[in-house]
Amino acid sequence: MAINWFKYSAPSTFYVLAGKLIPWFAWPAAILFFVGMYIGFFVAPTDAVQSEAYRIIFIHVPASILSMIIYLVMAGYAALGLVFNTRLSSMMATALAPTGALFAFISLWTGALWGKPMWGAWWVWDARLTSELILLFLYLGFIALQASIEDPRRADRAGALLAIVGSVNVPIIYFSVQWWNTLHQGSTIKLSGTSMHIAMQQAMFTMLAAMWLYVITVALMRVRSIILERERNTQWVADLAEVKQ
């Protein structure tokens, strides 16, 4: 069966599709969140070294991973919009930026609350922490730059350039614990295996899945408003049931 994927790159079709998809991401996100919280607090054992403080990991690690993934996806969409001049891709990039910024913030906030009892400091200018802070500033810069340009297509192009150049920072964050001698601990989960307790892993990956689905949900919700705003002078928007009532 041939599916015409380009059909969904039209804002008018994607608006309807996104509306239908939202509950399919929102409900699994909510369910996985509760499952992850349950495993994280009631099944996963106390850590031998970090006691109960380590439980911050179930929110800190998924949020940090997603702050990087969201950035790459955002830059990817922005680049697509820049190269192929597809409006919807640029709108997706715009929709992802605030959520990415929030996840970078959560990463830094939970990291500070973990660093204080473990290292004795809320903040250190370590390579991992500093590059994550730069990631937050890149998101904020992207949002501010787009907000400052009146013409949406020009805003898309300017934002795309910033996003593409800034993506250099993502591998720097990821490899920072290997490249530099950081206070931040290295990865516990590696391709070659892990020393982590199975319940700890389950809680972490469940929370990662829950947050990932949350990001998709909220991005779809946000992009629908962006589509309506940008397409406000078209007939299909005027014909929408939710606008007509």
Binding site: A53, I56, P98, I106, T110, M221, V243
Partner: protein, 62 residues
């Protein structure tokens, strides 16, 4: 294990709940803002189309 002990998190309660609380708060606020934005956008669109229809009607009257 009782609940007091659970919430104390062996002395790390402030850090653990401070992390979870802030993260949850931020995400709930985001959902509220996104929904509010949709409501606002739809409202503005309705106003815009009502105004346009009135203008068209006025033109037809002349």
């Amino acid at each position: 294990m009782n609940w007091t002990e659970f919430f104390a998190m062996k002395g790390y309660g402030l850090y653990v709940w401070g992390s979870y609380g802030a993260a949850l708060l931020v995400l709930v606020i985001e959902i509220i803002l996104v929904r509010h934005k949709r409501k606002l956008t739809l409202q503005q669109l309705r106003l815009k189309f009502v105004a346009e229809n009135q203008m068209r009607d006025a033109e037809n009257m002349e």
